[in-house]
Amino acid sequence: MTTIRLENISYKEEIRRKTSKPLIWIGIMSIVMFFGGLTSAVIVSQGSGEFLKITMPFAFTVSTVIIVLSSVAFHFGLISIKKGNYAIAKLSIATTLVLGLLFVVSQYLGWVSLNENGIYAAGKESTQESSFLYLITGLHVLHLIGGLISLIVVLVKIMKERYNAENVLGIQISITYWHFLGGLWIYLFFFLRYTIA
């Protein structure tokens, strides 16, 4: 009896090539709806009329600059791979990774600053808007940690020279998610800036 070997490498590669990008895009759609739900919740809560404004920490503005720069660096890395320039690609992806980590640090500094100014995430002295501010930014960082893991995988694979001009699918998946996270942060930053802060 002949059976179809789905473990066959070329079959697996073909399926991967056909489906990886749509999978990440539809995954992104569901994340959009997740944050859409949370930011809609902010708008509905504002309707109650008891919403107090709070000052956005400067560290969050710095975060915005960092994440834009990280996207530029990542893009530079992808172009370098396509041109076969591994040294610059390694440098660019490593820079992206460092900038990603710096983004997390700047978010943490933002939370510390909020806390020092008496704006708490939870408890008796917290308000609905302060809780939203911590929660939404925190959940974005959680998603970004996924992006950082994918960046590490990409970096390791570049070190091992697994990518080349024809094979950049893994990087494209990772960069799509990373750019999305950047775009998402910019949306959240301005949304929070003009609703809560």
Binding site: T3, I4, L6, K18, T19, I26, G37, A122, Q128
Partner: protein, 592 residues
């Protein structure tokens, strides 16, 4: 081969399988087991409602401390109602129905060897399994399972000290649902990508069976709505465990003011129903797709209005996102906003009516073969109509006020959503059983199952409308404190009697299912003489679906009883498989 190899083969073939057909079976069996528990719970609380305060040995035996002396306690009654709703809506009719048939049919009907990602597919099932286990564990924790209703409105769900079920049971409910949502998202991602990217040559979108269109739209609704429920659940978890006040404000318990301020439980309702209403269609659309397929095959007629069917499903999917407010007419909503939600809600009647019209016109003058699958499909058309018309009253804000939170609502949604979906699921199991297990089910037992089920189902849910009109509120443990409802006691007893018979009727199905899976007659390759691609695959299961090349598709799947100019069947048979190339003068039905 060594024992080690046998064990490994067993593990990867039956447990951690990445084959969509095995995963489909896993969803089916787990979904049915959960569904059976949900059914048993409802039968037990129906005993309480039908004969309030009476002691039943069977309740004592199964519920133990939840029903000292054979009488369910009021708090555990609420727990049973909550768990029944949760299990039926999510575990049976969402994961059980979609998980089974999307997994079985998507690759087989579009002509793919498997899903886009077998690994994600496997994860999807195991997340579902874990969430089922967590939900079941919640029955055994201190205080009992969640008791705030399947909609888990705060503050009952947000304050662990509110009622007995608000403690560990509620926490486990939330954890279970979070895991469930991950499972649903992984499944939906796979379904969408597989349909878009892995169709065989010739399988254009206008040649897709309506089942596939239904599964696609269901998955899209799932991907867009479940994340919002996840957001709602997260805010609830934070309110419960970390002292935030998203849904809570100025609450006093035992004379003590709690620390929460500024939140609103209405916010939860908005977020919950943004998922909650699309969820109705996550449950319904697969059943409607299954019915389309069965009605056409068993009437030996092309489906009437193929494109209108697709268009109406798209319209239903879109509209399902803009009607959530009709669940909240009595929350102090601005009457103008209420009228907007009334308008969008009533609009759904249009595509729904198109579907019903098309089912009836397909059945009209058809050469109907009355298999259990056909009967359950026709049963679905019946419940979709009778449950749909009562929806017109509930969807209208001015009328809804009179029957809101009464048994009218319970009767309505059980008929239109519960019965329609479970009838679709039964129809699907009877129809594709030969594909799932390679054996046939017993027809006579199936027909007996159908007639007892539909008679009992109407016996249970139809009278509830009268209870609702009389103002009997839902979710009450008993109504003896309200003399106003004294005349209603007999109706409740009547309903409960039908519920008990309905429970035993399902045992006929379970017997037929288990017996046929092992001892039923061997199925031929295409027992229903059907056109769609799954019937071209060999009866025996193996990973990859077809030996050699995947068949190509040349026509839509509804070429039944096609006649030539001389009035004879075009290819000598009353069905033409999708793999048959179009003749010179033939047109593809899906294109026109």
């Amino acid at each position: 081969m060594s024992t080690h190899h046998h064990a490994k083969d067993f593990l990867f073939t039956y447990v951690f399988s990445q084959d969509h057909k095995m995963i489909s079976k896993q969803f089916l069996v787990t979904g049915f087991l959960m569904g059976f528990l949900g059914l048993a719970m409802s039968t037990m609380f129906r005993l309480q409602l039908g004969w309030p305060g009476e002691s039943f040995e069977v309740i004592d035996m199964f519920l133990g401390s939840w029903a000292e002396g054979g009488v369910i306690t009021p708090d555990k009654y609420l727990a049973l109602v909550t768990m029944h709703g949760t299990i039926m809506v999510f575990f049976l009719l969402t994961a059980g129905l979609s998980g089974t048939f999307s997994n079985l049919l998507i690759p087989l009907q579009i002509g793919a060897r498997d899903m886009a990602s077998g690994f994600l597919n496997m994860l999807s099932y195991w997340f579902f399994f874990v969430s089922s286990v967590i939900m079941l564990i919640s029955l055994f924790v201190e205080g009992g399972s969640a008791s705030a209703g399947w909609t888990i409105y705060p503050p009952l769900s947000a304050l662990p000290q509110a009622i007995p079920g608000s403690g560990a049971g509620m926490t486990l409910w939330l954890v279970s649902m979070a895991v469930f949502i991950v499972s649903s998202l992984l499944g939906s991602l796979n379904y969408i990508v597989t349909i878009f990217n892995l169709r065989t040559k010739g399988m254009t979108f206008t040649r897709l069976p309506l089942t596939i269109w239904a599964f696609l739209l269901t998955a899209i609704i799932g991907v867009l709505s479940f994340p919002v429920l996840l957001a709602a659940a997260l805010l609830l978890i934070f309110d419960r465990s970390f002292g935030t006040s998203f849904y809570l404000s100025d609450i006093y318990i035992g004379g003590q003011v709690l620390e929460h301020s500024g939140g609103s439980p209405i916010l939860f309702e908005h977020l919950f129903w943004f998922l909650g209403h699309p969820e109705v269609y996550i449950v319904l659309l697969p059943a409607l797709g299954i019915t389309s397929e069965i009605v056409s095959t068993m009437t030996r007629k092309p489906i009437f209005g193929y494109r209108a069917m697709i268009g109406s499903m798209m319209a239903i999917a879109f509209l399902s996102f803009v009607v959530w407010g009709h669940h909240m007419f009595l929350t102090g909503m601005n009457p103008f906003l209420g009228s907007v939600f009334t308008f969008t809600t009533l609009l759904i009647a249009v595509p729904s009516a198109v579907k019903v019209f098309n089912y009836l016109t397909t059945l009209w003058k058809g050469n109907i073969i009355f298999t259990p699958a056909t009967l359950f499909s026709v049963g679905l058309v019946s419940t979709f109509i009778s449950g749909g018309v009562t929806g017109l009253i509930l969807g209208n804000s001015a009328l809804d006020i009179n029957v809101h939170d009464t048994y009218y609502v319970v009767g309505h949604f059980h008929i239109v959503m519960g019965l329609s979906a479970i009838f679709g699921m039964f129809a699907g199991v009877y129809h594709w059983f030969p594909k799932i297990f390679g054996r046939m089910m017993n027809n006579k037992l199936g027909i007996l199952h159908f007639w007892t089920t539909i008679i009992c189902a109407y016996g249970v849910f139809f009278p509830m409308h009268f209870l609702g009109f009389a103002g009997v509120p839902r979710r009450y443990y008993e109504n003896s404190a309200f003399p106003l409802f004294d005349d209603m006691v007999d109706i409740n007893t009547f309903i409960s009697m039908f519920a008990i018979v309905a429970f035993f009727a399902q045992l006929i199905f379970f017997f037929n299912f288990v017996y046929s899976a092992f001892r039923g007659p061997r199925a031929p390759m295409n027992p229903w003489r059907s056109n769609s691609l799954e019937w071209t695959a060999p009866v025996e299961h193996f990973h990859g679906n077809w030996y050699g090349e995947i068949p190509h598709v040349h026509r839509w799947p509804y070429d039944y009883s096609k006649l030539n100019a001389e009035g004879e069947y075009v290819y000598g048979e009353d069905f033409i498989p999708q793999t048959t190339p179009l003749g010179e003068d033939e047109k593809d039905g899906g294109e026109h």
